[in-house]
Symmetry: C2
Subunit: 349 residues, 2 copies
Amino acid sequence: MVSDLRIGIDLGGTNLKIGIVDLYGNVIHKTSVPTGCGPDFVVGSIVATVNTLMKRAGVGMNQIATVGIALPGLLSTRKGVVIRCANLPGWDGVPLCDLISKALRKPVAMENDGRAAAFGEYRVGAGRTSPIRNMVMLTLGTGVGSGIILDGRLVQGHAGRAGEFGHSIVKLGGELCGCGQKGCLEVYAAASRVHNRALRALENSSAESSLRSIDFRHGAPTSSDVVAHALSGDPLAMQIWDETCRYIAVGCVNAAHLTDPEVIVLGGGMAAAGDFLLRGVTRHFREQYWNVELPRADIRITEAGNDAGLIGAALLAGEVSSVTMVNQFTENIKAPVVVSLNGCPTENL
Amino acid sequence: MVSDLRIGIDLGGTNLKIGIVDLYGNVIHKTSVPTGCGPDFVVGSIVATVNTLMKRAGVGMNQIATVGIALPGLLSTRKGVVIRCANLPGWDGVPLCDLISKALRKPVAMENDGRAAAFGEYRVGAGRTSPIRNMVMLTLGTGVGSGIILDGRLVQGHAGRAGEFGHSIVKLGGELCGCGQKGCLEVYAAASRVHNRALRALENSSAESSLRSIDFRHGAPTSSDVVAHALSGDPLAMQIWDETCRYIAVGCVNAAHLTDPEVIVLGGGMAAAGDFLLRGVTRHFREQYWNVELPRADIRITEAGNDAGLIGAALLAGEVSSVTMVNQFTENIKAPVVVSLNGCPTENL
């Protein structure tokens, strides 16, 4: 039997999504479970979930060529080791590829989730049309992830850190970002910041707003509340949403000037706003773009949606030579990292 | 005789630099003349200057394989046509490659000057060391030019517009740039802005400063005046210079996050400040860079200096197939642009 399938894993702070993906990026079977906490638990959960999924799908391990994992944070993709991961506390230094490779007996590769999603989107989503060779994707979630495709290839840079639009400075001396910089795009364009902006606006103004009817005890209004109320015509929600679209448009202007792509794709949780997001961002993009010539990049909403990350991880893993991956694990990890069983560490970035 | 030499032309708003360059990027002979104005005059001047230089150098036209031209502004590098050029008024729509190719009977290619300089710097300057595969260059002159090298190749994007760090927005809602955008890096980091900042500081403050001794009638103080007075310990000049270094450092932070390069090179007129620029920018770069990990990119001063542009243009032209270039001229320029003899048009961007 030919090993022409791949396993794609999207390891998020909240959910663990696993799919069986074919050579073309089609998701044959998939499942999602809560992530849980700590590397030991999660590695065990990944292995158990993969096995259950394979059984349910009637797919044998001999049909699987490679495994790809997408996860947030800084990674050494070459060594298969997590360096720093804000949303997965306790994972710093964990040789995740090695652990999964030993358990599943398959070559495993990892990629930052923003970059993996960009690659997935490029191959099977909004970037799949054949003349497109250059694409930027911004994933607008709790943070702003991103990835750049140039001439059909995912841009990695010197050590696999390239493409971090979320942490490019768009407001010199601006608000403090979780990363320690001031004025990062993430501080203005992430879904979590829409929520903050809404809370602040409600606290600092006495204006009538339907947003006030939301139960604040649960941390609402969320970005989707803001979208819903803006769509219903609430002026305050409309203003917050418009401001958000303007910030995202700055990211698009910079993406256009820096990489000259055919397409800029908006993904992540906020992409659920669909056309409402697209119209707002496109309008501000055109307004802010230079007057030297008309904008050339087309802004689109994700088509691969929530599967972009696992598809991208699966396809990228398939492009790395298995031999290289196996050798890496034995050569590079000289002092294996001890994975503790201390439960969930609480320290963050 | 083997055609193993190339002609590199750096067509600037003030000076026209022409060099004979070998396969390795060494400049064998070079010359510089004032640019003059209008496409007709300049094309004639290029042809005459090339002929004089060749004669002086004892090099025959049969030894020249290709000609490369670097010039500022938006170009259609594929068609060899100038689209818009702020510093060369009257050049919009001029099929420069075709004109030079017909006159010199050689294949001619063109590239934006910032990108050509980046490529020249990568091949023979601060980026030439063999392990370096990823580099960003910022040319800090009247404007801020730039180019990105990824995996050893100059990044072009969809239509050869990629790498415009100068027009990425670093201050949302900031000062108006000549391009029509607000808050571009160019507005804060260009040499001309150092001059403006100094003038403003002198007008708006009564502080003692040795900069006041400069003859203002000639538009002084220039950025090099600011450097000289800051080096002599003048507090106001030191403050203006420090602020400038901070702005340039924002460009470096963004370059680091977006392309993850081994090296970021500072070139252009301001690079004449050498170590004084390097120390200031590096300090602010480290201060502003995220705290997730230490900066990995090394900031350097140009080593190819003023020749970077013509070397880059010469080497890039050598990498484009001559056949492609010749075919382009006959295929793409359907309606030849009439080059007028109206003298110097004055309209700008």
